[in-house]
């Protein structure tokens, strides 16, 4: 990936994704800010991406952990054999 402060749209999207998880480095955030300042396409992507992140946070989503799902599967199979 480029060392330059000017990055491609693809690279900008990658940084934007990492930012949603708080995993973008400081230098990457600067590069993304520069790109966002002049690229409408990147801004659109960033806006959509951030909206998805806030929707997920707002929905307070939950899912089973792998171990919990395995337990559920075992219980299910056990009951199934009884039928």
């Amino acid at each position: 990936m480029e060392n330059n402060v000017f990055i491609s749209h693809e690279h900008a999207k990658h940084i934007c994704d990492k930012m949603q998880y708080g995993e973008a480095k400081f230098s990457e955030r600067i590069k993304l800010s520069i790109r966002l300042a002049w690229c409408k396409l990147t801004r659109t992507y960033s806006k959509k991406n951030s909206r998805l992140t806030s929707s997920i946070k707002e929905a307070e989503m939950n899912c089973l952990k792998d171990a919990e799902r395995e337990k559920l599967q075992r219980q299910f199979e056990k009951e199934r054999r009884k039928l």
Binding site: K48, R51, M61, N62, C63, R69, L72, Q75, E79, R80
Partner: protein
């Protein structure tokens, strides 16, 4: 309507456990109770498979069973709560006579209920969109985004490279954002 949905319990846990769990926990707010209710739902589904007419999808059918389980759960805890309230002592002085009824019966001023329902529905919509993703992509997205795995652990656990992980995440996010745009924000 002609029945066109088939029933196949072999894939129920893989396909529907997360959706049903999320549906439940947003309504009962307790992880263990949610797991029990989901487990009971699958078992009831197994026992009443003969009643499946194929007019709705398996997931809709299982969700309708789950809804009844949730209602039963609340009925049960409310009846226990009712019994407890009968034993409560009320102030019987003449000055405050009559106050207790209003104080105890009136709903507290709570505007958050609507928001809670909307959040639960948003969660359902996100799960709907997730169910349309390729299996591997949905799994990676779920581990990273909902369960909050860090990148290194996730890559080690799934034996994939970091760049592959981000490609999968990117594809999942793009598809989900488009799906939500169409089915939630514009609906």
């Amino acid at each position: 309507m002609t029945p066109n949905h088939k029933i196949d319990p072999n894939h129920w846990i893989t396909l529907y456990s997360d959706y049903l769990f999320n549906y439940t926990i947003s309504r009962v707010n307790d992880r263990e109770i949610a797991q029990d209710l989901v487990s009971e739902t699958f078992l009831s589904g197994l026992k009443s498979m003969d009643n499946f007419r194929g007019k709705a999808s398996e997931r809709t059918w299982l969700t309708s069973i789950l809804k009844r389980k949730i209602i039963d759960y609340y009925r049960k805890i409310n009846s226990n709560k009712g019994k407890a309230e009968v034993r409560m002592q009320y102030n019987t002085t003449s000055e405050s006579e009559g106050d207790w009824l209003e104080e105890r019966v009136a709903d507290s001023f709570d505007t958050s209920a609507e928001g809670v329902i909307e959040n639960a529905e948003l969660g359902d919509a996100i799960y709907d969109c997730m169910s349309k993703l390729p299996k591997k992509q949905a799994h990676i997205f779920k581990l990273k985004t909902i369960l909050g795995y860090d990148t290194e652990t996730l890559c080690n656990e799934l034996d994939i490279t970091t760049s592959n992980l981000w490609v999968q995440i990117h594809r999942a996010r793009t598809a989900l954002a488009t799906c939500l745009e169409k089915n939630w924000f514009k609906a």
